[in-house]
Each structure stands twice: as C-alpha cells, then as structure tokens.
C-alpha cells in the first residue's frame, strides 16, 4: 500500500492540531505540512506530491478562486465544515470536493470516512485480485494445481483457445508470467492451499 500524503489548511490552531492527532491514528498516511487559512499553500503543492488537502470552510472560501482555476484540486480536497452549508456564500460548489467532514463529527465516524477514502483508492490500481473475474480465479486455481491449458479447457468445457486468452489476461492483470509466480499468488490470496498445489510445478 502506498503512503498517502496530506496537507492541512486550517486556521484554528486547535482544530488543526486535533486534525493532526486524528490523522496520525490512521495507518498509511502522513501529514506533510500545516498551513493557516491565508498562508499560500499552492507553491508547496507544486513542489511535492500531495494526495489530499484537508481545508476548513473559511480557507476554502478564501481560496475559492484557486479552486475554480484548478479543478483538479477539488479531487484532492477534504472539506472541514464548521457551520451549516446553507450559511455559506458559495462561489465553488462544496459538493464538488472529494469528501466532507464536520467539526462536530465524532472520532470513529471521522476515522471511518478517511479510512474509506484511502481504501477506495488502494483498491483501484494496486489490489489486482479484486479485478480477477470468478472465472479467472478458477483458472488460476487450476493452473496452480498443475493442470495444463488443455486439461483446464476440458474441465471447464471451454476451448483451449479461450483458456489461453484468459491466461493472457491474468498475466497482464497481475504482472506475473510464470506458473510458479501464479501459484504463490494463489496461495497468499487464499485461492488454493499449499497442500492442494501440484507437487511438481509444471514448466
């Protein structure tokens, strides 16, 4: 899992430090830098790779021009709300941000929201097993048991050609070419047990 980087743009000292303490409880992220509401944070964003900006609603309004001209920033924004949304004079729609949290929210709900955000991203490119279809998982299993493409085809009532094209997709999805690599993958992803693995990995 890649470590996600955060910066905070929060004016209230207490809210900012509280946010740091909260984020530090969550595994897999790091707070790189804290800014007050009116400190320019854009130059920092250009020099570092930052995944998320937690910004309070006043700072968000203060910098609304910046968010209008950089729509990509909204994708990284977690809005910290103090007041009700209706109380705000809105130049940028606050619904375009990646996520919103509220100052009065309790600890567990805050952690869950942020954890969710990180998990959702992790799942995308990096956890390939979730992208294997049930059929592909079956094929990985059979390959690990030492079956040849022809044997797999017979067992699943498919043509050898279809099995080969599944194999090709599996290889490119997982980035694993060898049978032994697939076998280890299958074991650590609980697709097969060591006992079930073929005794002599086929070449």
């Amino acid at each position: 899992m890649r470590i996600r980087s955060f910066i905070l743009v929060i004016d209230s000292y207490l809210a900012r430090k509280g946010m740091v303490a909260l984020l530090n409880r969550i595994h897999g992220l790091r707070v790189l830098k804290e800014f007050g509401a009116k400190e320019a944070f854009l130059p920092y964003l250009e020099s570092r790779s930052v995944d998320y900006i937690v910004i309070d609603q006043h700072a968000f309004q203060h910098w609304s021009g910046l968010f209008i001209s950089n729509p990509g920033l909204l994708e990284k924004t977690i809005l910290l709300e103090y007041a009700h949304k209706e109380d705000l004079v809105q130049e940028v729609s606050t619904s375009d941000v990646k996520a919103s949290i509220h100052l009065m929210e309790d600890r567990d709900s805050l952690i869950a929201k942020i954890r969710n955000l990180l998990d959702r991203q992790d799942r995308d490119p990096e956890s390939p097993s979730l992208h294997l279809s049930p059929r592909e998982i079956t094929i990985v299993r059979l390959v690990s048991m030492g079956l040849t493409n022809r044997e797999i085809a017979e067992k699943l009532f498919l043509s050898t050609h279809t099995v080969m094209s599944h194999r090709k997709n599996i290889n490119s999805k997982l980035g694993i070419k060898s049978i032994s690599g697939l076998t280890i993958y299958a074991i650590v992803n609980n697709i097969i047990t060591i006992e079930e693995v073929s005794s002599l990995p086929a070449k």
Binding site: R2, I3, K177, G181, V188, L200
Partner: protein
C-alpha cells in the same frame, strides 16, 4: 533533506538505508570529515544528481525538482545501469543464497522446497529478461536520442523511427518487479511452517523488504524522471525537425 554541505559520514550514519546506493556511485565508507559535495567531486560524481537520488530514496514523497534538468540523460543512464548491476551482482544473489540456506535447515516438505526454488528461479529469469530489455533496448535508445538532439542535422532515419516509436510505449509495458517479492515474504510469514534459524529467516525478510523498496524507488526514477524527460526531448526534436 540532505544538502551538499553536510558531512558525508553523517548522511550515511544517520541514514544507513543509503548504503546500497553508494556502490552505484563508486563511493565507499571511510569519508572522514568531507562534505557530500567534496566526496562527490573527488569521485567524479555530479553532486546535484547524487542529492536528487539520495533524497528521493529517503523520502518516498520527495518529488525530484528542477535540479533534474541540470544533468544529462547520460548521467541517468549510467546510474540506471549501475543500479541494474547492483541487483544482478549483489542483491539477488545474496537473497538467493540466504533463501537456499534457510530451506536447507528447515522442516519444509520436499514439495514446499520445490515450490520456493522454482518460484525464485522463475522470478530471477523474468527479472533478468526485464533488465536486459532495458539495457539493450531503452538505454541505448535514450543515449542515441540525446546525441541526435544535440546535432545540428539529426539523422533522418532516426527521425523516421521517432515518428513511430515513443518512450511512452515502454511506460505502458513497464512491469512491477516488486509484487512477487511481496508474495514471497507473505508466504514465509504467514503460510509456511516456522523456520528454526530465526536469525536467517529475519535476514531473508529484511533483504526482501529492502530490495522491494529499492525496486519501487528505481521504478520511480525511471517513470517519474527518465521517461518524462525523454518524452520531452522526443517532442522537441520532432518539433525542431518539422519547423526547420
């Protein structure tokens, strides 16, 4: 962040994870009081380049900055080749040796040993193929590109090739070599029976983890630094030819 004025011994002492980096620049401990800059200069190493690489190595969030446009693609190619040698000659053989020793003194079944051995052999084979593809294909191409871009009249044949091929294609097929190492660690920690030689087992896991991190960093150097710069050079060379 490391800077040029720091004494080199302190940089290394406080960041021992930089040790595998040193041989790639032909540097050896025994630095005395010399600063980073002094050590680099006396070994013919571009200090800015060393700093960019070392900082990127230490901090996964460090984005190599504008310092990068200061050195030639040739410098980068040399570094990448030296890194490949480190993998081939030091890192992989060392893990392999320890893994074999670990298996010899274990209670693993023949089947489990067979599985691990085949797995590592196949992995090594794929790894070598990956490296030689880069060394024989990509790196010479990058050097040639830099040479052609510096010429007043680039070779028309090269330009023709350039119109059909871009380094971006390489990026798309750039495998991640660290994934299988992670599976191997997980296999040892979770699925195999405990090893009696705890010390050796820890060494294997530490080596695997260091190699994984190294590979991730190395892929970053290639994907985030080398490829964008090469793509930029490809573009400007094609533009200059079409406008000139």
């Amino acid at each position: 962040m490391i800077t040029r004025e720091w004494p080199m011994y302190r940089v290394v002492l406080e960041n021992l994870q930089l040790l595998p980096l040193l041989p790639r620049f032909n540097l050896k401990p025994g630095f005395g009081e010399l600063s980073v800059d002094e050590v680099c200069r006396s070994h013919g190493v571009n200090t800015d380049f060393f700093l960019e690489i070392a900082n990127a190595y230490l901090d996964e969030l460090y984005m190599p900055g504008e310092g990068l446009s200061l050195f030639s693609l040739g410098t980068m190619v040399n570094y990448i080749s030296a890194t490949h040698s480190y993998y081939k000659d030091i890192a992989l053989p060392s893990v392999e040796l320890k893994l074999h020793r670990l298996m010899e003194h274990s209670r693993l079944t023949e089947k489990e040993i067979n599985l691990l051995t085949t797995f590592f052999n196949d992995y090594k084979k794929d790894f070598m193929i990956h490296l030689s593809q880069e060394e024989e294909g990509i790196l010479p191409y990058v050097l040639e590109l830099e040479k052609q871009a510096a010429m007043e009249k680039p070779d028309p044949e090269f330009i023709l090739k350039l119109q059909k091929y871009s380094i971006r294609e390489f990026e798309q097929e750039h495998d991640r070599l660290e994934t299988s190492l992670k599976h191997l660690s997980e296999l040892i920690i979770k699925y195999l029976p405990p090893f009696d030689d705890l010390q050796l087992c820890h060494q294997v896991l530490n080596d695997l983890s260091a190699l994984m991190k190294d590979l991730v960093d190395h892929a970053d150097v290639e994907d985030k630094v080398l490829i964008p710069r090469v793509a930029e050079l490809e573009r400007s060379l094609l533009n200059s030819v079409s406008s000139g």
